[in-house]
């Protein structure tokens, strides 16, 4: 089960969460559903940690050689940095969680899931989401437009991560979904 999905800024500075969705209301120790501001705070904490991981990656893994290599390769999310880490129980969620992330320039995509999850599947779903969401989030994260195309993002998240469920999708079915979404977006 995926707990949440968020899109946030990556460049150094205050971390901004552009979009977030928590699929199921978290239940606190006292049995009540978590407050909105608590939820936001926890997601921000995760986003900040991704931001710091990304910054380390960018400074260490990229080099003059890498940039040259980048110019020759195209492809399936190859120009994205990515990684995974875990958050311990209580920091900030009640249970231990695993965070998978991908990012590029100022857009970071983070998937927060449980520890016993199929991580290869989660990573692939994340890559799919990045690929399809990138054109729709670009303007917001680059700061060129102070707007968020929430409905477009929502459409894709609902398709690939319906109520937080990871799906085993092969290429043909992804294409079919892609066409369906394109048609919807055009209306």
């Amino acid at each position: 089960m995926v707990h949440s999905f968020l899109i946030h800024s990556l460049l150094p500075g205050t971390c901004r969460v552009f979009y977030s969705i928590t699929f199921c209301g978290d239940i606190k120790a006292n049995g009540h559903v978590e407050d909105r501001s608590d939820r936001k705070e926890k997601l921000l904490a995760i986003a900040q940690r991704v931001q710091s991981e990304y910054s380390f990656k960018r400074v260490t893994q990229r080099s003059e050689l890498f940039d040259e290599l980048l110019a020759t390769s195209a492809g399936y999310g190859l120009n994205m940095e990515g990684g995974a880490f875990r958050s311990l129980r209580g920091e900030p969620f009640d249970n231990e969680k695993v965070i998978l992330w991908l990012g590029r320039e100022n857009t970071g995509f983070a998937l927060i899931s449980d520890v016993h999850e199929n991580r290869i599947l989660a990573e692939n779903t994340l890559r799919l989401l990045c690929k399809f969401l990138q054109p729709h989030i670009k303007n917001t994260s680059q700061g060129t437009e102070p707007i968020l195309l929430v409905d477009h993002i929502a459409l894709m998240v609902n398709r690939f991560l319906p109520n937080g469920q990871l799906l085993f999708l092969n290429q043909k079915i992804i294409r079919q979904f892609e066409k369906e979404m394109e048609m919807l977006l055009q209306t």
Binding site: E64, F66, N170
Partner: protein, 813 residues
């Protein structure tokens, strides 16, 4: 190096401005805006574009802040209305936006949306997510479960059905106790049904409408060999197919959630169903613990009469599906997405089999064979993550079938890890694997103690990410035979980082050349020398896979020199910052668990390395600080070291230059240790001859320092000089060389009184010298003062030590 540019800061500024603007709306402005929007929505059926724009803007105002913003009630109720609207208008974007807006304000109680009983199919997309985020608090879940199940149990597949299915799965996962037994059974039967797809027959049935290319194929395009599964392709997928995909996708989670139900069902032949302890008594401990943690099923769901037939049927269906998937994953997919899907599929299958084996130990042998088949398929460097999942299964159940996991572990930790440690996702999987199986691996295998050099490569490459995790697994990597090697390895981790970085750059350069691209003219870190053949033997030791090849190399200084160019590479410097933490963990374990022999062998290494550390200033300082603290602890616990390691300590002490360099603190601590613990009360073998050897060493050192300061350089700190003098006095009182000591001390005292006043330092030295001389004139007192008796724990009486002040008073004339 790619740095953060001016363009980047413009972006950040713009984004910040957008956020400030969104947060800057006052309550009144928001209210006006909302009412405007409401008007627009009432009239927007023909042209929704303006409404959509305004909705998006409102979303940003509400979402981009932690504070709760108020929206007028009329707008809120209208939004709720839109969601449940039965007609085709409004536009789906408007509905989506309404749903998201309401969701953003969650958790909140919405009377209108509370029950989904009469919900239209098409509106499920908008309302079910809201249902989930309200939680069970307001009774949404309990009340709506029957309706959700109505959808799920329907015969004809639809989008709504799929969404309801995922909603139920989410609820079950989050709060298993809320799903009553009858619903569990219904879910099981639906699951079983959807996994056995009927669509091939059904599509063949609709003969005229269906063209032949609508029949699904295998993933490589060949003719389909059995039922439809997730690894089947089709030119167009119907909802039937989607059901199949969704069903498989939830199996693992569902089985985990209902594990204790299932266990009771399988154990039905054995003890009473009301036994509340079954989760802890059956299956392997580790996985059960972790699974129990996930499923907060109260163990008191008692009195279950297992519906054996239905449950068995579901298990059979699942296992048949899994077998088919194993067959299908041997086919060659045509693109990378499908290939990765095959891997994730295998991982899932192994996980499902793991759960089943946990619940039903009798199925272990047959399932083990299936997993062995997968193992043969993934024994490859490029399939590391899948291989790791298989190894996990072997570790959990290998004992039951007497299978030796050694080969698999060796292959993975020697070969796969070395080649792929820099893949972030594989590295994460490995670290989690080591953490989750720490105890088992420690007790039953040699993975930690044999392969720690390789395991450390992950840390050297990702120092920031995994510090907490490595603090946890480090204790398992320390073994009696490899303690000294471990110390060297930890100290040299920054070198490992640098060497890995050089190797990586070298590979990138080769890649460029192979692609016919020119190398960039300016490269910040020169990796050429590191990769040259002359350096190869040293490099191969630093980047070795296994332990046991030797503690360290002789030519550490060469290593450090060649890698010096990397010392301000970010990865290397972050790694070096983490070393003191790891060292402290190392020493803690050593103190708690190691025998004296190990510590005695470790000691020279500490002294040796204090002058052979990689040249990062902060790193050297921090490590030396750890060293100087730790030797105090070690020697306090084992004072015999002073005797057993006399040669090494003497060698080290006799070089006064140590007092001037970074390692001065450590040096001074050693001198203090010599003075403090050189006594037969700590070690019976400590004869006067031996003490005399130390005495002579210290005496000549003192004279050297005296001569040195007789010249012009006054670099030795007064603290050092006084320490030296005190040590001299202590030793002399134990080996009958009091007079010699007195002469020496008087010389120093005299010398310093002729020196020009240098603040307080000279006075300090003069005072101390005089004090010691006077003390030594009374040998008995000196002996009592300078050789404090070993304090015994239970001695409540006042000892000689505590009357120190009294004793000292006798020396004052």
């Amino acid at each position: 190096m790619a740095a953060f540019t001016n363009a980047d800061s413009t972006i950040v500024l713009n984004v910040d401005a957008a956020f400030q603007k969104a947060r800057g709306w006052t309550d009144k402005e928001i209210e006006e805006f909302a009412l405007d929007l409401l008007n627009l929505l009432h009239n927007s059926n023909s042209n929704p574009a303006a409404a959509i724009r305004k909705l998006r803007q409102l979303y940003v105002i509400i979402a981009w802040t932690r504070k709760d913003k108020k929206l007028p009630a009329q707008l809120l109720s209208f939004l709720q209305q839109i969601l449940a609207e039965k007609s085709k208008t409004p536009h789906h974007s408007v509905r989506l936006l309404a749903s998201y807006l309401l969701n953003e304000l969650a958790p909140k109680y919405w009377q209108n949306l509370r029950s989904i009983q009469n919900l239209e199919d098409r509106n499920t997309t908008y309302i079910l997510p809201l249902l989930l985020t309200q939680g069970k608090d307001f009774g949404y879940w309990l009340e709506n479960l029957p309706h959700l199940f109505k959808w799920i149990s329907g015969q004809s597949p639809s989008e709504a059905q799929l969404l309801a299915f995922t909603a139920v799965t989410a609820i079950a996962s989050n709060c298993p106790s809320i799903i009553a037994e009858e619903f569990v059974q219904k879910y099981n039967s639906v699951l079983g049904q959807w996994l056995i797809d009927n669509s091939i027959e059904s599509s063949r049935g609709r003969s005229q409408a269906v063209k032949t290319n609508k029949v699904p194929t295998e993933i490589d395009g060949s003719q389909i060999r059995g039922n439809f599964t997730i690894l089947c392709a089709a030119s167009s997928f119907s909802h039937d197919h989607l059901r199949n995909i969704y069903a498989f996708s939830v199996i693992r989670r569902w089985l985990l959630t209902n594990q204790s139900h299932m266990e009771k069902a399988f154990a039905s032949n054995a003890s009473t169903p009301t036994s509340k302890n079954s989760p802890t008594t059956s299956g392997s401990e580790v996985t059960l613990q972790s699974m129990r943690r996930l499923s907060n099923l109260p163990s008191s769901s008692s009195g279950l009469t297992p519906k054996k037939n239905r449950r068995d049927k579901l298990m059979d269906v699942i296992l048949t599906y899994c077998s088919r998937l194993i067959d299908q994953s041997e086919l060659k997919a045509t693109n990378i997405i499908d290939t990765t899907l095959q891997f994730s599929c295998l991982v899932e299958v192994v996980a499902i089999m793991d759960i089943i084996c946990n619940c039903d130990p009798s199925s272990i042998p047959s399932l083990f064979n299936k997993v062995k088949r997968i193992y043969k398929q993934v024994l490859d460097i490029n399939k590391g993550r899948t291989l790791l999942a298989v190894i996990q299964f072997f570790i959990n159940f290998g004992d039951t079938v007497v299978f030796d996991t050694k080969d698999a572990l060796d292959f993975f930790f020697a070969k796969v890890l070395d080649a792929r440690f820099h893949n972030s996702f594989l590295a994460f999987d490995v670290v989690m694997f080591l953490l989750e199986n720490q105890e088992k691996l420690c007790v039953n295998t040699q993975v930690f103690t044999l392969y720690f050099p390789n395991i450390f490569k992950i840390f050297a490459w990702f120092p920031r990410t995994y510090l907490a995790e490595y603090i946890q697994i480090l204790p398992s990597m320390i073994s009696p035979k490899t303690s000294t090697e471990m110390l060297h390895t930890i100290l040299d981790l920054p070198c490992v980082s640098a060497a890995l970085e050089a190797r990586h750059m070298h590979q990138q350069a080769q890649s460029l050349i192979a692609n016919g691209r020119p190398l960039p003219t300016k490269i910040a870190f020169d990796f050429g020398t590191v990769m040259s053949p002359t350096f190869e033997p040293i490099l191969s030791f630093v980047l070795r896979c296994c332990s046991g090849r030797g503690d360290t190399i002789n030519k550490l200084n060469i290593l450090h020199d060649v890698l010096k160019k990397f010392y301000n590479h970010p990865r290397v410097s972050v790694c070096s910052q983490c070393i003191p933490v790891l060292l402290n963990v190392f020493f803690k374990v050593i103190m708690e668990k190691a025998s004296y022999e190990i510590i005695r062998d470790l000691f020279p290494a500490i002294i040796e390395r204090s002058v052979q550390l990689f040249q990062i200033k902060q790193y050297q300082e921090n490590v030396l600080e750890v060293f100087s603290t730790q030797i105090l602890i070690l020697c306090k616990h084992y004072p015999r070291i002073v005797v057993d390691r006399q040669t090494e300590i003497k060698d080290y002490i006799s070089h006064s230059k140590h007092a001037l360099n970074n390692e001065r603190e450590l040096y001074m601590h050693l001198i203090w240790i010599v003075g403090e613990y050189s006594s037969s009360q700590y070690c019976s073998k400590y004869t006067k001859e031996r003490i005399l050897m130390y005495y002579e060493c210290i005496e000549s050192l003192t004279y050297e320092v005296y001569l040195n300061t007789a010249g012009d350089s006054n670099n030795f700190s007064p603290r050092f000089v006084t320490l030296l003098m005190t040590c001299l006095a202590k030793l002399s009182s134990r080996c009958d060389t009091i007079q010699r000591a007195q002469i020496c001390l008087m010389k120093i005292g005299k010398h310093h009184s002729t020196q020009p006043r240098n603040g307080n330092s000279n006075e300090f030295i003069i005072n101390r010298a005089n004090e010691l001389v006077k003390l030594l004139q009374l040998p008995n007192v000196a002996s009592a003062v300078l050789n404090p008796a070993l304090q015994l724990e239970n001695q409540g009486a006042i000892t000689k030590r505590t009357s120190l002040s009294l004793l000292l008073q006798t020396t004052e004339h």
